[in-house]
Each structure stands twice: as structure tokens, then as C-alpha cells.
């Protein structure tokens, strides 16, 4: 039955599909191994007091990471407040207001892609020079600015994707009624795309929550107590806490690092699952 090099082609095809399957298994395995390691080492540190108590003032065992949880939440929330409107407006510009394929739209997309590839330590250095150095003080807000720069392209690109899935018929429908485009955007197009945009924002938040490099530069010299002062004060945060705990010679700090890593991972996982649920709902709403 075999005609020509059929057998050879079948072998190659099998090899390639095997390779692809193996690679995806490796990716999943990497995730599983990291997660298992974090859970195994971190679970021991986890307790209620770990979540609600501040780290001990002068090091040593005991205490928790409450101040870092509060700090990271604040810094990331502020970053989201800054980056989300700008990101969504960028997406609106790309999808609703610029002619597709026009020069400014292409430039904008390229800029967003480049921004996405920006090394985060460079972003940190930039904010350090722009905000921290002149103010002579590290601050949580400076950290928020850096994280906002990191989140912006993620939010803009994901919002753009979602806006593109809003059926063209809806825009035709609003246009044909003689209602201005911006009203249509506010009352029909954005509400339709809202779930998807929130998903993108949450994923960006999850990404920013673990960002360490910029915070080391601009929000790394904090005192361990809980604070809600984002402006003018360095605010404790989980990534830097993990970094300093691992660097320190104190073995109890090492355990705290694993615990903090577990908390961070759990937060990100919850955010991701929530985002996916939202996206599925919004898809159903659009009738996709």
C-alpha cells in the first residue's frame, strides 16, 4: 500500500506531533513542580497569624507578612487605577477611532509591543530617576507608577483583542441610529466587552503583583510595620519581602519567604480563575 515515501512522511509526522506533545508536557510539568515546591515549603509557614501579623521588628522567628500583603494590594491597586483607564483608552483608539492599518495605529501597536518587552528593571530605574531621586525618598506610589507602566501594554493589548471580538453588527446598529460613537462606546460597546476587559486587567494585576525588580529599586527600604501611606513612604510588599528574607542569614526568614511565595501564588491563582470565569460569562453575553 505504501506509495513513494509515505512511510517516511508518517514517521516524520509522528515524530513532530510527539515532540509537540512532549514539549507541552514539559511546560505543564514545570508549573506543577514549582507549585508543588512552593506548597510543600510554604504550607508549614502558613497560619492565621502569618496572614494577620507583621514581621518581627528586628528579625527572628514568628510574626507574619500582613504588612506585605496590605502593601502589595495597595501598590497594585493604585497601579491598576492608573493603568486601566489609559490602557482601555489606548485600545479604544486602536479599535474604534483610528483607521485600521493606518500609520499612527501601526506605530501605536508597535509601541505597545515594545513596551511589553521592556525589561522591568529598566522601568524601575526610569522611575527611580524620575520620582525617587528628586524626592530623595522611596515610596509605594513610585512602585505603583512602575507597575502601571508594566501593566499598561498588557491591558491595552488584551482590551484591544476583546474589542475586536465585539460583533461589527453592533457598531453598525449604533451608527445607523444616529447616536454619536462615544455614546455607543460607553453604553453598548464597552458594556459588551466589559468582562473581557476586566479579565485582561486582572491578568495584568496578577503579573504586576509578583514584579520584583522595579520594587527593589524604588520601594525596597521599608520598615516592617503595616502602613497605608503610599505617598512619601516605602511600603512593605511581598516580592521584596521574599527577596530580603532569602538573602538574610536567618533560617526562620527563609521559611517566611516560602510562606510569602505561597500566598502570592494563591492570590495570583485566584485572580486568574476569577478572570477566566468573567471572560466566559462575557463571551456568553456576546453570544459567542
Amino acid at each position: 500500500m505504501a506509495s513513494g515515501n509515505l512511510r517516511r512522511r508518517e514517521a516524520v509526522s509522528r515524530a513532530i506531533s510527539g515532540l509537540a506533545t512532549a514539549s507541552s508536557l514539559v511546560a505543564v510539568a514545570a508549573l506543577v513542580i514549582v507549585t508543588v515546591a512552593v506548597v510543600r515549603h510554604g504550607a508549614g509557614a502558613l497560619s492565621l497569624s502569618f496572614l494577620v501579623k507583621d514581621p518581627p521588628q528586628f528579625g527572628g522567628p514568628g510574626g507574619g507578612i500582613a504588612s506585605a500583603i496590605v502593601g502589595t494590594s495597595l501598590i497594585v491597586a493604585m497601579a491598576a487605577i492608573i493603568a486601566t483607564p489609559v490602557g482601555v483608552l489606548c485600545a479604544l483608539y486602536l479599535v474604534e477611532f483610528s483607521a485600521p492599518g493606518s500609520r499612527p495605529a501601526r506605530a501605536m501597536r508597535l509601541a505597545l509591543d515594545l513596551m511589553q518587552g521592556l525589561p522591568t528593571v529598566v522601568v524601575g530605574l526610569f522611575i527611580f530617576g524620575l520620582v525617587v531621586k528628586p524626592a530623595q525618598a522611596e515610596s509605594g506610589f513610585a512602585g505603583s507608577l512602575a507597575l502601571a507602566i508594566i501593566m499598561l501594554p498588557l491591558i491595552a493589548r488584551s482590551s484591544q483583542e476583546v474589542l475586536l471580538t465585539v460583533p461589527r453588527g453592533l457598531r453598525d446598529g449604533t451608527d445607523a441610529l444616529g447616536v454619536d460613537r462615544w455614546r455607543a462606546i460607553m453604553t453598548v460597546i464597552l458594556p459588551t466587552a466589559l468582562g473581557g476587559i476586566l479579565t485582561g486587567t486582572i491578568l495584568a494585576v496578577a503579573r504586576a503583583a509578583g514584579e520584583t525588580a522595579p520594587l527593589l529599586l524604588i520601594d525596597g527600604a521599608f520598615t516592617p510595620g503595616t502602613t497605608v501611606q503610599l505617598f512619601g513612604h516605602a511600603v512593605p510588599n511581598i516580592p521584596v519581602l521574599i527577596f530580603t528574607a532569602v538573602e538574610s542569614a536567618d533560617p526562620s526568614a527563609f521559611a517566611r519567604a516560602w510562606g510569602a511565595a505561597l500566598v502570592l501564588l494563591a492570590l495570583i491563582l485566584i485572580a486568574n480563575v476569577g478572570a477566566r470565569v468573567l471572560l466566559a460569562r462575557s463571551r456568553a453575553r456576546m453570544g459567542l
Binding site: A99, P100, G173, D175, A176, D180, T187
Partner: protein, 291 residues
Amino acid sequence: MSSSGGDAIRPRVRIQDGSASRPVPAAQRNDNGGTRRAAVFDIRDMSVHYGENRALDWTTLRIDRNLVTAVIGPSGCGKSTFIRSLNRMNDSIPGFRIGGQVLYHGHDLYARQTNRVEVRRRIGMVFQKPNPFPKSIYDNVAWAPRNLGMKSGLDERVERALRHAAIWDEVKDRLRASALSLSGGQQQRLCIARSIAVEPDVLLLDEPASALDPVATAAIEDLMHNLKHRYTIVIVTHNMQQAARVADRTAFFSLDERDRTGTLVEYGDTDTIFTNPADPRTRDYVTGRFG
């Protein structure tokens, strides 16, 4: 608009047999003769390009008030391009250019000072695929009035629109339900209700029944007979029987063999177009010999 009106009782049918000859406005009188109808659209030498491609050749015709005017023709003959040019829906298409004049009650639709959002307020459009907003039935109809500042008596306005679109009885008990829960035919009538809720002057229907089953199609056709007393209706259809059933006037567009451009072949009373067309291309089309 020179000599074409004449004193003929029969509407004059104009044949276009080459790009050199420009058609002269056709029917100027209604079927009963006598009363002269007001022109809603006076389209003169309209031509449309998308980038380098010419989509529509010299088109000259008049669309009169309170009539149903059907636009028929084979695929790609420029029917949709034509109707979408009447409320400037093509403006957003990259490379769209229009030549000639589209006069709407004497105002040039494409003049610099003409606001296209206002144009679409007066000239509503219903599309081939029903496109209700992902909102409640009520909010679909109320959306445009709300955003256009017609907020007083909103409930009455919504009810009136739904009644005129012949869908009130089916939805009056579930106005808060999602519009997406309606059947395709109901969605299309809802879209018609949504269009007439802002009291437009003209309704453009771009193949409104082509995605619907025969029963829903019949409902839409019935609706058109009633709506034409209030609105001027232009309907694009690829279904000749539909044009014959609903339209007072019919315009037949075709593809020019030489340059593959949409061309108005013949325009006149629906009866004339279907029983005694002047152009052999029209005859071939309406008798089903091509297209």
C-alpha cells in the same frame, strides 16, 4: 432635472446602456398618475469607489416619499453599496469615495457641513443579520431615544415603536428579557422597532429577510406595507418575488460585463420592471435566466 418629468402619466423608465450616457431621473409621478410625489432622495450621477475599485457607476434616480422602493440585482452588483451610501454607512470603509450628488430633501448628504450622525438619525437602517444589542428588549428600543435626549414619554415611545413593528404582542410581557432570547425573525422586527423609535424619515432595509425563515419573512413583508404610510422605505433584496410583493418601484442593478462595475440598468414601477422591462438584461434577470 431638466425635461425628464414631462407630462407622461406612466413613469419614465430610463435605460443605461453605457457609461457615456447618463441616466436621467426616472419616475416622477406615482402609479395613479396626477399627484406629484415629493422626492426624498434625488441621486445624481452617484459613483462609488473603494480605493482603486469602482463599485458603482453613474447612478441617477429619485426615491419618492411614502413608497417602497426595492433594489434588486445579482450578487456584487452594488446594491448594498448603493443603499449604504444613502445614510453614509460606507464612510467608515477605508478608501471609500463617492462622486456625484445625493440630495436628501434638497440637501447634499455629502456636503462638508452635513453631519453624518444627524443624517443617520433621520435615515435609519436595518441590516441583513439581526443585530440587537446585548440588552433587554425594552433597552434595545429605548437606547437611541435616551441617547438622543428624547427622554420624555419613553415608555409610550417604546410601546409605539414595538407596536408599529408588529412585535408588541409577542414581547409585552417580557420587556425586561434579553433581546438575544428572541427568535431571528423577532430580533429583526425588534431591530425595526429600534430604528423607528427615533422617528426617522426614511428606513433603509439591507436584505432584512435573507437570514429569516419564510414565516418570519412574511411577517416582515406585511410590516412593510403598513410602515410605508409613515416612512419612506428602500429595501435591498436578492429575492425577486419579495420585491414584486412589497415594492412600488424597483431599481435593477447589474454588473457591467466590461468593467465589472455595478450599474443601474433600469428603474421604474415594479409592475413594469417585472412584466414589461425595457432592457433585455432586466428581462433575463426577472425571468430567472441569470443571477
